[in-house]
Symmetry: C2
Subunit: 412 residues, 2 copies
């Protein structure tokens, strides 16, 4: 492991010296090779090994679908690499200031160095991550899941071949083939060899990485998102937003899990919202007051308020005030995304000021918390920690700063 | 511990809602109370307990001096609080952009929340840290060393009294009175309760915190800084810069520990530089080639190249090229500060591009790596990690971002 990481470090020094045109050329070559017929055949054959094994192990249909590659999906993956090539280079921009003693200080953005990612089943993450790291001048160290090991190995080999074809170091993309607990632990504790470790996956993986890493980590992902319907809300808008936040894609982290409704509007609003949610047969788990308004709802337990369902299930609570809504969110939210539906200026202001989450919405769906939707291009996760950055982590965030100080003999 | 941190969290919610005038009023009240005659007497009496105990335990004169408070030092500490009040408020600034669907996204700077600091002997850190946290809207959780426990306890009590006097929550400044290994471990693993943990002290403390924390940490401090004298260097300037970098204050992290000299200039430059260093009786530990030029030097061991002496000792190596200098730095540097002395444009460019440290100087002393010297005001440490920020960590860095998204019913 140490040797692999040292190779990645050495490659990162070469990457840091590349200009944008050189990095884009490498990205386009990766995209091209991922669509070469021979490579496509190879990847799909290796992917079949993974999906066969997964089927035998009795995986769910949804997970099997995420694992499966097709020619069309490979084309989409290659296109996403081309999109990264089109994004602005985050390296080399900066600010300059001059001190009274004449020192000129240039604060410039530079690559992190070595970025390691531990992720779960989807093989497209292998390519996405490598592309974002390459464009930001970082070496990528990829540790996927055992269920996608054959697909990931094949894809990585092709990306490394593409790097070599354009004269770049293959170790800019490193793949950890030995997916044991021991290598994972070595990865998480490789202080000085890894500049950033990102977990991409479910809450279990994220907690495991955060609790066991001694290298810098960005905590991503888990989202218990709330929509609060204020007493002044437009009820039709509330129904649209709640339906979209819950039902447009329940499995993702920016989907809503809890609906909070002001008591003054609950009797009017809840039936309208519930009718919309019924379109997707959404299960409602309510507080006692909700149950009085919506007979179809089942009682919510304390555990419900902190559960990320990832499914057509929504917990519902009636609150007496905006303050009560804010307190509920402070207690149960994972700090990802929350929305208020309101027509009142003071309520909108108070909610956006007091709710301490990465993204706080007024009259919009929580589903917009996404690198693409924010205009950042593809993302490597949604940060729910405060260090470095909160919200969508895109290309622009995979850099650090370096102060270049130009003097003429100044001493202190 | 959990209860203390929850109180700090609750206080941080109140702090986040304060405007700049309110925070400045609290800082000025803290400064005023730190100079009230009654409080001065109290603090100095408590400080005497610490210094008496330290003397009995046979502490060095330098450490005893760092621990000792006087009325004049308290006045200087109070003045530094007043300086923090004068710094611009880092909270509330931001950028705004509008998406094609009309969503207006405001990326605004907000407080981190709860910032914990583990630090060593100097009691002034107690006040500095609290002042920076308060101005940035964060609750401060202070865990000092046992050698300053009486001083720190007294100072904290007075700061809390000052907070109460201006109507702010006392728990904005929390003090950990039980300095056991157990409470330290609880602090380092309080995920969800601490947003940032900063170690301020020697390398041992920093490593201990980085290796045992599960909360986000900024690695600070340790500095094995290099000065490289290029073959084109102005030798007089080189002597001035090396002397300043090594001798102006050898105990600090931005002092130079290693001098690298290009072979083509070594025979000329080294005697001039050595003569300057002799003014402070600086011990030189050289590579074989250095020993041939400077008979007064002693042989350097492998360990010397990665040692932060903190004293009038300098390791010296002759290198054959700028490339060799850059490689030496890549291998042994802690990524803090490095300088090149050169008259050559290409050498300056290559050095600043290839050296991957927080601060890279051309023709200036490494001693400028400092929040005050950079114009950031007082600092909480020098970051040598890449996540969040590198270099001096000042008030402006003790914040995170929050996206406030204003819509009119947008769904995805």
């Amino acid at each position: 492991m140490k040797e692999l990481l040292q190779k990645a470090r050495a490659a990162s020094r070469q990457l840091a010296a590349l200009n944008t045109a050189q990095k884009n050329a490498a990205l386009l070559e990766i995209a091209r090779q991922l669509q070469e017929p021979e490579n496509v055949r190879l990847i799909l054959a290796e992917n079949k090994k993974d999906t066969d094994a997964a089927e035998q192990s009795g995986i769910t249909a949804a997970l099997l679908d995420r694992l499966t590659l097709t020619e069309a999906r490979l084309a989409a993956i290659a296109d996403s690499v081309r999109e990264v090539a089109e994004l602005p280079d985050p390296v080399g921009q900066g600010e300059t200031f001059t001190r009274p003693n004449g020192l000129k200080i240039i604060n410039t953005r530079v690559p992190m160095g070595v970025v390691a990612v531990i992720y779960e089943a989807r093989p497209n993450v292998t390519v996405d991550t490598a592309a974002l790291c390459l464009k930001s001048g970082n070496s990528a160290v990829l540790r996927g899941s055992s269920s996608a090991i054959n697909s990931n190995r094949a894809i990585t080999a092709i990306m490394r071949k593409a790097l070599a074809a354009v004269g770049l170091p293959q170790d800019a993309v490193c793949f950890i083939d030995d997916i044991s607990r021991e290598t994972t632990r070595e990865l998480m504790t490789a202080r000085g060899l890894i500049d950033l470790l990102l977990p991409r996956g479910g809450r279990g993986l994220i907690n495991f990485v955060c609790e066991n890493s001694t290298v810098p980590v960005i905590q991503t992902g888990a989202g218990v998102c709330h929509v609060y319907v204020d007493k002044s809300a437009d009820i039709e808008m509330a129904a649209d937003l709640v339906f979209n936040a819950k039902c447009s894609r329940p499995s993702v982290c920016n989907a809503a899990e809890t609906l909070l409704v002001h008591r003054d509007i609950a009797a009017q609003a809840l039936p309208v919202i519930a009718a919309r949610l019924l379109e997707k047969n959404t299960e409602l788990r309510g507080c006692p007051e909700t149950l009085g308004i919506l007979p179809r709802a089942v009682p919510a337990t304390e555990e419900d308020w902190s559960t990320e369902y990832g499914d057509y299930i929504l917990s519902v609570r009636v609150v007496g005030s905006l303050d009560e809504a804010v307190s509920h969110i402070a207690r149960y939210s994972t700090g990802h995304s929350e929305a208020i539906v309101t027509r009142d200026y003071a309520s909108a202001s108070e909610f956006t000021e007091r709710v301490d989450s990465a993204c706080v919405y007024v009259n919009a769906s929580t589903r917009f918390t996404d690198g693409g939707e924010f205009g950042f291009g593809s993302e490597i996760g949604i940060s729910t920690q405060k260090l470095h950055v909160r919200g969508p982590v895109g290309l622009r965030h995979l850099v650090t700063n370096k102060y270049i100080v130009l003097g003429s003999g100044q001493v202190r």
